[in-house]
Symmetry: C2
Subunit: 287 residues, 2 copies
């Protein structure tokens, strides 16, 4: 997906948020924001939004010296999600269609996204998930290729599951436990927003149900040219690729390999691109 003009004000809003999380003082915030304004005056709209976010975060890291401004947020998200494990697990067990329920919960868990929302909004989203009943989700499932997913799953031996955020990955664990296959779970290579790293995967016990790997990528998405050779080989060879979150969709949607994208629609640009509403829960097979 290409960057669109509407992304630019959003990049600047995120810049300011991250500069503050990195404890930049007023003068440093101004310096960073103006630097990003300069960058925006020159950017190409031919790249995906996560590729631009990657450059912005690199600049903030350089200017503040803070490598991982979301470290505490991620730790808290993991703890919070771990506390939900037995409740979520029971929802799946009580369900008539365990696979469907675990997919719906995994998509709903994609609401844990500090690039676009704050803690207060995320807690409200989690509250909603805890009141989950499958029928409540039906209005939000405008693209939901469940039958295609089930069919691909039945044929697959190896699955690559590309993670999105810390905390959210606990919801992914619940889905992976239902897949009942050999799963390789890929996290980001370096800190970027609240995207899950290897340490988060361990914190949420993903090592218990999958083989962990780093994509090598330091963007809030999966930009293949920045991924490790090891990851690229897995990506090409896997029978089934599950991609979580908007950032991975934005960076992989134009790739030729077949992928199932699971995400919650959280920005109007993506909503327009796939002809969905904000808040929709998407299970989309790439064409």
């Amino acid at each position: 997906m290409k960057t669109c003009l509407d992304c630019i004000p959003c990049f600047l809003r995120q810049t300011l948020d991250v500069a503050r999380r990195a404890n930049a003082g007023q003068a440093k915030q101004e310096e960073i924001l103006k630097e990003v304004n300069k960058m925006m005056a020159d950017i190409s709209l031919k790249v995906s939004p996560p590729e631009i976010t990657r450059s912005i975060y690199a600049l903030i890291r350089e200017k503040t010296g803070v490598i991982d401004p979301f470290k505490e947020v991620k730790e808290k998200s993991n703890q919070q999600a771990n506390n939900l494990y037995s409740i979520l697990k029971k929802k799946v067990e009580d369900s008539n269609d365990k696979l469907l329920t675990s997919i719906e919960l995994a998509i709903a868990g994609n609401a844990i996204d500090y690039g676009l929302k704050d803690s207060l909004e995320i807690n409200k989203e989690i509250e909603k998930i805890l009141n989950y009943h499958s029928c409540l989700f039906n209005d939000y499932k405008t693209i939901f290729n469940y039958l295609e997913f089930k069919e691909a799953l039945s044929k697959a031996k190896t699955i690559l599951y590309i993670a999105d955020n810390a905390g959210e990955i606990l919801f992914d664990k619940i889905l992976i436990e239902e897949l009942n296959k050999e799963v390789i779970f890929a996290v980001k290579g370096k800190p970027i927003i609240n995207d899950a790293l290897m340490e988060d995967a361990y914190a949420c016990g993903l090592d218990k149900c999958s083989q962990l790997v780093s994509s090598g990528c330091d963007a809030p998405g999966t930009i293949l040219k920045f991924c490790s050779k090891e990851f690229l080989a897995i990506y090409q060879d896997a029978d089934l690729v599950v991609s979580k979150g908007q950032g991975n969709f934005e960076t992989l949607s134009e790739d030729s390999r077949s992928i199932f994208f699971l995400f919650k629609v959280k920005c109007p640009v993506v909503a327009k691109d796939i002809k969905c509403k904000m808040g929709d829960l998407v299970l989309k097979k790439s064409s």
Copy 2:
């Protein structure tokens, strides 16, 4: 009020909105947005937000040749508001405190602001106003210097009433009719967002209850250095100055003359500045 870093993403969002309203094509939108990014990389935060908005609008005018991208919106707002006149008037007549009710309605009418909201949101706000009961407003009146206003009004012979938006001025008319004084009603000098011009004042019949004047200013506020001499003389000499809207507050709040500011809090930067919540209805005497 000084511009704050949080204003910058908002300026860019407005830039894109206005460029589109001025029918700029995709390439022109990109050119304008990038030009404004360049401008933002160099701006001084010592000026008020409307002074920066003024420069942005000048740039969009220059690049698109469209002088008044909100012309139709303003005409529609005036018509829509005129249709509400008798309903609003009855609300005032049925009230125990006619002055209070007309002030509350005038502040609520400040929701008609296309710089920050779109038509859909504005229609919802108008719907709320039509369901108006004074007690419903109490939670939103964290700053409401009504007694001071009544006292100042009782002593005043001449009142300068500085307008904000088209449509909204019909709500101002209802308040002016309750003031029962000699009122000079000041509109903007040139098109800027949906701010009321002389033609809007006539369209809403403000000429029937006040003397009309232009401030001469072409910013979405009242920047004294850009106002006409005629306006400045009235501004200095008036016994009471009523200023409507955030933009006028942002540009006049640091001036030494005594002013009563009436506005709805529509942006987090202003909310923080005056220690209010978003959505609050403010009647604030300048210190």
